[in-house]
Symmetry: C2
Subunit: 339 residues, 2 copies
Amino acid sequence: MHDLPDPPGGARMRDVARAAGVSAMTVSRALREPARVSPEVRARVEAAVRAVGYVPNRLAGSLSSRRSDVVGLVVPSLENSLFAATVKGISDVLRREGFQLMIADSLYSPEAEEAAIRAFLEQRVAGLILHDTLHTEATARMIRRAGVPVVENGTVPAEPLDMVVSYSNREAAKAMTRHLARLGYRRVALVTLPSAANARSRDRRAGFLDALAELGRPSDPRLLLEMPPGLASGAEALARLTEGAEPPDAIFFAGDVLAAGAVLECQRRGWAVPGKVAIAAFDNVDLLAQLNPPVTTLRLPRGEIGTRSARMLLDRLAGRQSGPAVLDLGFEIIQRAST
Amino acid sequence: MHDLPDPPGGARMRDVARAAGVSAMTVSRALREPARVSPEVRARVEAAVRAVGYVPNRLAGSLSSRRSDVVGLVVPSLENSLFAATVKGISDVLRREGFQLMIADSLYSPEAEEAAIRAFLEQRVAGLILHDTLHTEATARMIRRAGVPVVENGTVPAEPLDMVVSYSNREAAKAMTRHLARLGYRRVALVTLPSAANARSRDRRAGFLDALAELGRPSDPRLLLEMPPGLASGAEALARLTEGAEPPDAIFFAGDVLAAGAVLECQRRGWAVPGKVAIAAFDNVDLLAQLNPPVTTLRLPRGEIGTRSARMLLDRLAGRQSGPAVLDLGFEIIQRAST
DNA sequence: TTGTATGCGTTATCAC
DNA sequence: GTGATAACGCATACAA
């Protein structure tokens, strides 16, 4: 909290009013509803605004009008570029509609998310977009009391707080697993990110298991692995899964850039992909298409999740949409040479 | 701008005061300077806060105190993961100090940057962090009038607005170019991102040319290329530079993931790196270390730029630091097998 | 240690 | 079409 440097140069609305020879109220109207002010007055106000270098104070405006043009966004991590596409989509829509974006990361911790949301509510954000779907009790209570609209993004939760825009992690993982089975792979392994605080990882594993059950295949615990994110981690996963007896003939890396790390490790070992082992990924990052071989993966609507989330939120704020809503944007399998 | 849902559940400070049997002013103090309130009163206030589910209104607080705990950040792109490390560093420091982060992208356009900054100033941010160093006249004027502290980040500009935290793109490019010469490469090509609206690209080219001049080598225009960002773009650059007569024996990709794209293209062509052509990059992204061969590059203090920028800004706000300051955080060459 | 009066800069409301 | 007045919810300054 520190000094706002208004004093010297900070012109207020009344300064503009004086310069234009009108009341402050007229300046306010001229700025927000130009149509409701006579053309000549409007021109005088606009000139005065430029003359004094007036920058409206939205803190005061929001306090008075009880409206806000700031949206709060919480992502699990600011470093993971997967979320970047969604953030970008959100930002694009908000900018076009004259809203501002306040952002924080939860570090995959519901408690940190709670703190971030509390801070946002103190700033009186107009609405929230949350990438995580796992929240503390206090978080849910705060949001309910505050009455702000919320869009959740990470997956389709069993009990949404309010609105949801996502794809189904479970269905996506299931679809890819069936795809691998259809291609003839008999022993498919699954690698996910740590699932403890990550509903998405859990959904993906559930989808994988759904598919195996449907196929009438037993699920072998030796074929299930959790790894931290990162390329090196993918290489490590490959090593572990292939060193035992009965190694998998295909590995489905359901998170981050693990698959890319594994393909690069195969290059180093001189292993043919998919000859020695097939590799599939979960997200359509550029790298996967450029690797040798290019990697089979899922196309997820990362950017669209952002734009649709922002639109849904703004629609609600504008009263253009009422109830809760769950939007499943689907996914697509991209078959490439790695499988 | 839309309705703040305070009315129903929105407890105000006076509601807490009533519940605690004290004045609103005492609640305010108990919350911000607990030490200056008697322990029993403090306890009563805290209980009342929980009882009524009070969430302070910082809009009102900031308006009254003329302070703000929001910092505005403008990055060229929200999608480029290179900036993510810096954003993360900024966010970490701000969180710890109880500040909030408002973010916008400039799309490499000074006009878009100006619009974002204007919006931030309307929100009465306490300070600004700008990744770009190229600003419109109006931007500079606005910031000066507003009197908010600013940290610039992208490179070390000739005429800083205020404070600067960066490394020198020019020196870094120069150092890598000399490094390649020292390794024995005779014809070194440079690939940068489009330099029109990008001071960093221009600085890097200048550094490259500095080194050539120092080495007494002519600069061959056939060895200078500008390409858009992306892996595919790097592959394309490789193709173009190697198809003519007198191809380079080393290519310095001074931007984005161009170098990685080029290495992957070499793999596809079965070209030995550095046998056929050596490849160097500009940023220490994970991928470069995992590629085959691992790629020589620069280690840039991306995260530290963020933390130091935020600290410098907060120091200024706290009055712990007065004048402008320019902090050059340096860089380091990472020699790997690709050169 | 606590309370009262006043103002922060804007907008809602209602008068003209 | 324009203006006067009273909030918005809190903190500063001062008094008790």
